[in-house]
Point group: C2
Chain length 347, copies 2
Amino acid sequence: MKLDLKLTLVSLAVGVLGFATTVASAQDPLLSWNDGPAKQAILEFVKATTTQGGPQFVPAEERIATFDQDGTLWVEHPMYTQVMYCLEKVPALVKAKPELANVAPFNTVLELLHGDRAAMEKLTLPDIEKIAIATLTGMSVETFQAEVKQWLADAKHPRWKKPYTELTYLPMQEVLKYLRANGYKTYIVTGGGQDFVRVYAEQTYGIPPEQVVGTALGTKYGYAKDGKPFLTKEPKLVLNDNDAGKPEGIHLMIGRRPHIAFGNSTGDQQMLEYTKAGDGARLSLLVLHDDAEREYAYGPAQGLPETKVGTFTQPLYEEARSRGWTVVSMKHDWKEIFPRSLGRAIK
Amino acid sequence: MKLDLKLTLVSLAVGVLGFATTVASAQDPLLSWNDGPAKQAILEFVKATTTQGGPQFVPAEERIATFDQDGTLWVEHPMYTQVMYCLEKVPALVKAKPELANVAPFNTVLELLHGDRAAMEKLTLPDIEKIAIATLTGMSVETFQAEVKQWLADAKHPRWKKPYTELTYLPMQEVLKYLRANGYKTYIVTGGGQDFVRVYAEQTYGIPPEQVVGTALGTKYGYAKDGKPFLTKEPKLVLNDNDAGKPEGIHLMIGRRPHIAFGNSTGDQQMLEYTKAGDGARLSLLVLHDDAEREYAYGPAQGLPETKVGTFTQPLYEEARSRGWTVVSMKHDWKEIFPRSLGRAIK
């Protein structure tokens, strides 16, 4: 009888605790964020812009949110995922065109893929562009989509040994869902290839192809032998969606100025300026990679290590401070970085 | 007493008729369409693609519908509305740059606007392009939007003496609403200027700016003297959204193939081919302007008069027949053409 009573009390306590946890989950849409100015800025902004009759209310149709992808929504180090795709497609390219095996930069990539990591240093930006053109164009849109899908299913990140699409940031996934639950249309605005990101954005982020703005090459309409029309990917740059290209791309593809924009590098500077310069409530944020233990640390802002991949300079940091943008510290603002399913120890 | 009874019977009859009309409205989403193969094709297509578990079911996220604008959603004769805009902006242009008053083609436009209708014949396509560049670029995006809005409020169509935005086709407005009510995302895919159409598309068609794909000029990001960033409209063609440019533009801006597409001229040919060539249920339709009395008659398909504005050739008509597209006769398929608010006699 006494034992029973104890059990009952324990059950009750567990029940109450369970209930309390559920209530907390329901109330806090940003569970993996630590309390602090960044989390507070997001919560207050959403509340202000969705409070009907409030001074900062934004009508539902104007609620546009734009997100850089590499380094903002998922891991970009040691190298952008799409560059890894282009490099790893080189063997198939050389198999189809054997004459390329001894031609730079393709021979350099083959050395690199055979384990000569120092070969990476030899690749210049024009080399990367040459490899990109060779691996991203000349096929039909459908063939390209199928190849990217297959690669994403097979490829693994060198550090976590997991598919790239599992290396998205949980706190940012929460922000995407939270904004959508509050009537915001969420867009990716990436320097990466528009066609590449569209292959997985819907499944990975809940963002449909038509809400992915990226660096875009042209396509060419033509007919197959049976008369069936198709589009071929062409080596013609239509939109360079970096730097000033981001606001220009937003105008081209969306036609409205965002009310909230998230980035992490100098390539996002103009998008954040453009967003913040609009009338009414606007929020610009930058993710600072300052967590070498759980992810990576690079800047060189705030004395962090230099990098060519996702550079966050000290002048950008100063501009953020002077223009009232929010800087998100991965180390301090994010309680967790990856979903638990990734199997890493959660702090 | 007899009179009262009669009145009562009349009241009852009116009541019943009124009720019957209401029921018909609720059941028929295409009230201004006559029964026939075109109306039937639209109704059957929507039913087939939205019947869960059916063989032609299309998931909600893939329900993309694209509509040409000029001649498909609104009147394009005697001249495309945006060309009228460009011509009517010339006096303001000449006021700002008086040296243009005696320079072709601007002097020709001034003659034209002063009533010399024959001057229109002198304008070549390169002339129109020169006038377009002069009146559509060189200002900020916001200035352009304000100027278009003002012009639309003032300008009148020469035949109906009504604002252009009132000259949309009621049957097509019904199709837009019907598709949206069935989970379709409706897009305009126009040879007209993307920035121009975006100014009024939301109010006129319920289509937001981000769902308007059109011929697009580039913009250039820069800063005002006070440091505020803004976009300037540039004379740089990014997308020529005509002919093959339509499927190319759809891939660039939407990234999915439409399941239903509506056009009315050779400029829509490739969009309709591309749509119909997709897997599963696809519907391509062409509006034929064969009603000189209620609107205009032009082809030259089916022996209709020739035109340079919205040409519908006989080969296009033959292609429609051979590929299983639906040709909509304005004369026979449309019970009404304009909303009653236009004040015209309704047949």
